[in-house]
């Protein structure tokens, strides 16, 4: 990801000289962003196996506290970051969107793992949402199945870079009339209604699952079933090689 870095207009050399005298020169922007990026409070919820990696990241070996994001809050009201760790089933999706809506600004989302990005191995399933980005905006997509704790830390660092690039005057959550809430989908007769929110996500023109990998889509009616009454096919027994006769 490429972000425009917040550059200080103060000369670096002058800064260094002042630092020797014990004077720190900085901007409000940098101080503000430094504070925000160093105390991201994630929300404490996990949906599937990615949550195990998230827990491992929070434990002593990987220690997410080094990045100031160790305070997992059990309430959306107190958290800045939602780590969607795991498969989002259609039954769970409305709750995830609702939790996002309940978070206070500024809020960020990391989708952790292939499932929450696009459905993962369950993409053709009837019950799994093809990515939570259909309903809410995502800041960092973190692929892997599941991603290792190092990967989650890397994703967090990318998010820190993004936070660093934001400016206090232009940030959307200080603008008037800012309301970042997305409608919570309903349960329909065949799946969620709507299937996606076109304001947030739209299907791509090019479907690489079709043209690149030779149409591996398996969903739809099935036409074959095994015949139980037929005798079991016995696997051919490997014959030992005959000794060669001269």
């Amino acid at each position: 990801m490429a972000f425009s870095k917040n550059q200080s207009e103060v000369d670096e050399g002058l800064k260094g000289e002042l630092a020797k005298k014990g004077v720190v020169v900085t901007t409000i922007n940098q101080l503000y962003n430094w504070g925000r990026q160093s105390s991201i409070w994630p929300m404490q919820f996990g949906l599937a196996c990615c949550a195990i990696e998230m827990i491992a990241t929070a434990c002593a070996r990987y220690d997410i506290a080094r990045f100031g994001a160790e305070l997992f809050r059990p309430s959306p009201r107190q958290s800045d970051l939602m780590i969607v760790a795991g498969t989002v089933t259609k039954k769970m999706a409305p709750q995830v969107v609702r939790l996002y809506n309940q978070m206070a600004e500024p809020k960020y989302v990391i989708t952790m793992g292939a499932c929450s990005i696009a459905g993962g191995p369950f993409i053709d399933g009837y019950n799994v949402l093809r990515g939570i980005d259909r309903y809410i905006p995502i800041d960092v997509h973190l692929p892997g199945c599941p991603p290792r704790p190092e990967a989650l830390l890397y994703g967090l660092m990318e998010l820190q870079k993004k936070i660093q690039s934001q400016e206090i005057e232009t940030t959307e959550w200080y603008q008037k009339g800012m309301k970042r809430e997305y409608p919570v989908p309903d349960f329909g007769p065949h799946g969620l209604v709507p299937k996606f929110n076109p304001e947030v996500w739209q299907p791509r023109e090019l479907d690489h699952r079709k043209d690149k990998y030779g149409e591996p889509i398996l969903i739809g009616r099935k036409t074959k079933a095994p015949d139980l009454d037929a005798p079991l096919a016995t696997p051919p027994v490997a014959q030992p090689p005959k000794p060669q006769t001269a």
């Binding site: 209604v193 709507p194 299937k195 929110n197 076109p198 079933a225 139980l228 009454d229």
Partner: protein, 193 residues
Amino acid sequence: MNLQEIQSKIEAALPGIRLKPVRESLLIEDAAMLPKVAAFLKNDPVLALDYLSSVTGADYLKYLESVYHLYSVEKKTGPVVLRVRVTRDSPRIPSLVPIYRGAEFQEREAFDMYGLYFENHPDLRRIFMWEGFEGFPMRKDYEQEDSEILETADIEWLDRHGAKVPEGMRKKAADLKAQGKRAVAEKTGKSIE
């Protein structure tokens, strides 16, 4: 005790029952006889199959099936597998909840996924899918929705919630409605049956 001995034991205890060995299991030809067979297997002092491990549905296109795996915790034997076949038109099977209490949630699951109606079940509702879900998703003729194309219900919902919808999607949904179709994911390409 092997399958043949169990079969002859059941046939001796319940005259008139029709059993057929299918692979490693016993098929009960008349589904209504299932509770009697299960009660016999549970209460028989020699077999003592006191634990119903799983109730599963299966779809073989020509018929639907419900499969039961019975174990004996007391004798440390099992499994004894029972099968019941029903037609797609009337998938009615007597419930085993009065005999094995643990069958309740598993029968609900089989009902949810395969649409097998377990008669005399105390609380036959969907367990995984939500109320109002239509169809039984594990059946082979289940038509899954195409999750890339919006339908009129989605468009109406989005309008109600004040979300902007691109014109192309509106048109596509209207076309589908005019044809009386819904967006269904079709099976394409080479597949594993």
